[in-house]
């Protein structure tokens, strides 16, 4: 019987393993670098300093091309900003509001409840400004790619000289992490692209790592509380399992 049980368990595991579908099967070879992530593992947490720096890089480098349509300024409280700081950050942006009493739309400084404005009004404008390529929204990108964190880190650092046998067309760039190796996004990070105020290193690796922290938070903002509840739930259910097993043994003792 035990053998059968083990087989069933293996079947479950196999099913989970098999559910990982075919990945990145485009032409070219895809190389991923593994980063060190504070948010990995059952006790993972978001590093607030890294997220604030990542947000700064996003604002100063990526936001010109990529929006984050599901993030509101109020959400930045998760990064460790207080209410006054959030108000100040929001006020740096303008959003459209209206219609007013005359029926006109108007621009006003953003408030914490507003979503972060996106760089383009629609996909067509975005394509028109990027050689026909569409820069995807980044609010969910860390979950919308396999191995999200490592992938983003590798993608940002993946710009390289193309090997001799690869022809890079105009407006395309060689990237060792991107499926097919040819991406329409020019290299965004070179190191020292932004000025950190907390003395953290602004090397390409540092910037890429900070960005990854920020993007992971944006995609999965409830991760910390999820894992915290998870540890308690697993602890409680383990006790429940042991207790019910002991109770079962006791009740069945009379039978065998």
């Amino acid at each position: 019987m035990r053998r059968v049980l083990i087989a069933a368990a293996v079947a479950c595991l196999a099913a989970v393993g098999l559910s990982t579908p075919v990945l990145a099967a485009g032409a070219g070879s895809v190389k991923l670098q593994a980063g060190e992530w504070s948010f990995a593992g059952p006790f993972g947490y978001f590093d607030k300093g890294a997220m604030q720096r990542g947000f700064q890089v996003y604002r100063e480098v990526c936001a010109g091309c990529h929006g984050m349509e599901y993030i509101a300024f109020r959400n930045l409280a998760d990064l460790g900003y207080n209410e006054a700081e959030i108000k100040a950050i929001a006020a740096e942006y303008e959003v459209m509001d209206g219609p007013d009493d005359e029926g006109e739309m108007f621009m006003r400084p953003a408030r914490p409840a507003d979503l972060m404005p996106t760089p383009y009004r629609n996909d067509n404008e975005a394509r028109a400004n990027n050689n026909g390529a569409l820069p995807p929204d980044l609010s969910l990108i860390a979950k919308a790619r396999a191995n999200g964190a490592d992938y983003l880190y590798s993608l940002i650092l993946g710009y390289d000289e193309a090997p001799a046998d690869v022809e890079v067309p105009d407006g395309m760039y060689y990237n060792s992490a991107y499926s097919g190796n040819l991406i329409a996004m020019p290299q965004p990070i070179y190191g020292d692209d932004v000025e950190y105020t907390d003395g953290a290193p602004s090397t390409p690796e540092g910037l890429a790592s900070d960005l990854t922290h920020f993007l992971m938070w944006a995609a999965e903002p409830k991760m910390e509380i999820r894992k915290r509840i998870g540890v308690a739930a697993v602890f409680f259910l383990s006790i429940f399992l042991i207790m019910s097993y002991l109770a079962k043994r006791r009740v069945w003792a009379e039978i065998h």
Binding site: L5, A25, G148
Partner: protein
């Protein structure tokens, strides 16, 4: 007379007029259950629990979900970010769906191993297959609702299968879509049906249980209970044993929900649906992969569709394909080998369903598909004729006592 049993006067008053307490009491104490059931007999109860979890979380999700192509994806994101504990409700719903299939697959293989589909439990088994079909339809439509890339393209590929039907295929597809492509009308009807189907499943589960209680559970040695010495009451013996299974199930579910909530999903479904851009590989959810492999093993579309449905249909007629009077594989040495080969074959089909339909994978899919049908249509009927089975014990209590003595 029955009402005398209850000491609480309110219960007695109600039971005299509406004998639900007597009915429950009857199920709990008077329903005889073989004394030798192993932990595989937990999985029916676990499936029932999964169904309840799905219905409860589903109703809460529906309170916050918007079935419109322009708002579905963002309404799900709202649930994940702004609805109180919305992320928890959604992750439970997503992961319990997968666990439901794991549980039901084990439940089905349990039935295959111990011959639970044989007389007099044929209808019980067939109702189970009906439940399985309804579950697949429900899960398929549920996956469409978040309106991500895999939602959209999965729906497009699967509904398109019906176009293979000669003459009326195209009209059927248009009818299913409510238009000329997967679009807002499709999403709306899928939502409506996805809400309805679980209650239909619940109804069939009731029939399944009524059929079960007609002859009671089968058991690991597959011979009928001969008298009171072979059975025990459901409560407390199997309530407590089921509780162990429930605890294990919840523990594993919690690990998935809290630590690997997206492991059984596809990352592309976090990209909003885009009818203009086909994903590199369209793969269904993992629990459909064996059937997907059978579908793609056939070069002809209609042939593939027919074979895929045939793969489920053979389960309906299984009680008449396997004519061996011996139920449990324990006493069928040949059957036991072929059971495990079938098990491996199904895992292989699942693996192949997740691979691109090219090169060696196509050939392997064909072999695995062939073996699946060979098992049911040829090997099982042959085994019923040629297999020499081991002698059956005289009664359930006899081997139970024998092992007890052996251990002591």
């Amino acid at each position: 007379m029955a009402a005398e049993k209850f000491s609480n006067p309110v219960v007695r008053w109600v039971d005299h007029r509406l004998p639900i307490f007597s009915m429950l009491d009857h199920e709990k104490y008077d329903y005889p259950v073989p004394k030798n059931l192993n932990y595989f007999w937990n999985f029916g109860v676990l499936a029932g629990m999964a169904l309840v979890i799905m219905i409860v979380t589903g109703i809460v999700l529906a309170m916050n979900y918007t079935a419109h192509v322009d708002h579905a994806f963002s309404s799900v994101e709202r649930i994940m970010r702004d609805v109180n504990h919305g992320w928890l409700i959604r992750y439970i719903h997503m992961n319990t769906a997968s666990f439901f299939f794991i549980v039901v697959y084990i439940h089905i293989f349990r039935g295959l191993y111990y011959g639970s589909y044989k007389a007099p439990r044929e209808l019980l088994w067939m109702l189970g297959v009906v439940i399985f079909l309804l579950m697949m339809a429900t899960a398929f439509m549920g996956y469409v609702l978040p309106w991500g890339q895999m939602s959209f393209w999965g729906a497009t590929v699967i509904t398109n299968l019906f176009s293979a039907i000669p003459f009326v295929g195209e009209s059927i597809v248009t009818f299913l879509w409510g238009g000329f492509s997967v679009d807002n009308p499709t999403l709306n009807r899928f939502f409506s049906l996805h809400y309805l189907m679980p209650f239909v499943i619940a109804g069939v589960v009731v029939l399944h249980i009524i059929a079960l209680h007609r002859f009671g559970s089968n058991n690991p040695i597959g011979i009928d209970a001969k008298g009171p010495q072979d059975t025990i009451s459901f409560h407390p013996y199997y309530t407590i044993k089921d509780m162990v299974g429930v605890a294990m199930f919840l523990l594993l579910l919690a690990v998935a929900v809290f630590f690997f909530p997206n492991a059984m999903g596809h990352p592309d479904n976090y990209i909003p649906a885009n009818p203009m851009q086909t994903p590199a590989h369209i793969v269904p959810e993992w629990y459909f992969l064996p059937f997907y492999a059978i579908l793609r093993a056939v070069p002809d579309k209609l042939g593939g569709v027919l074979l895929m449905f045939a793969a489920i249909f053979v389960l309906f007629v299984l009680p008449w394909l396997d004519r061996s009077p011996v139920r449990s594989a324990r006493f069928r040495p040949m059957f036991r080998i072929f059971f495990w080969l079938l098990f491996i074959d199904c895992i292989a089909l699942g693996y192949l369903g997740g691979k691109p339909a090219e090169g060696i994978y196509v050939l392997l899919s064909r072999i695995a598909t062939g073996w699946y049908f060979l098992h049911f249509l040829v090997l099982l009927p042959m085994l019923s004729i040629f297999e020499t089975t081991k002698p059956l014990p005289k009664s359930i209590s006899e081997p139970v006592l024998a092992t007890a003595k052996g251990v002591a």
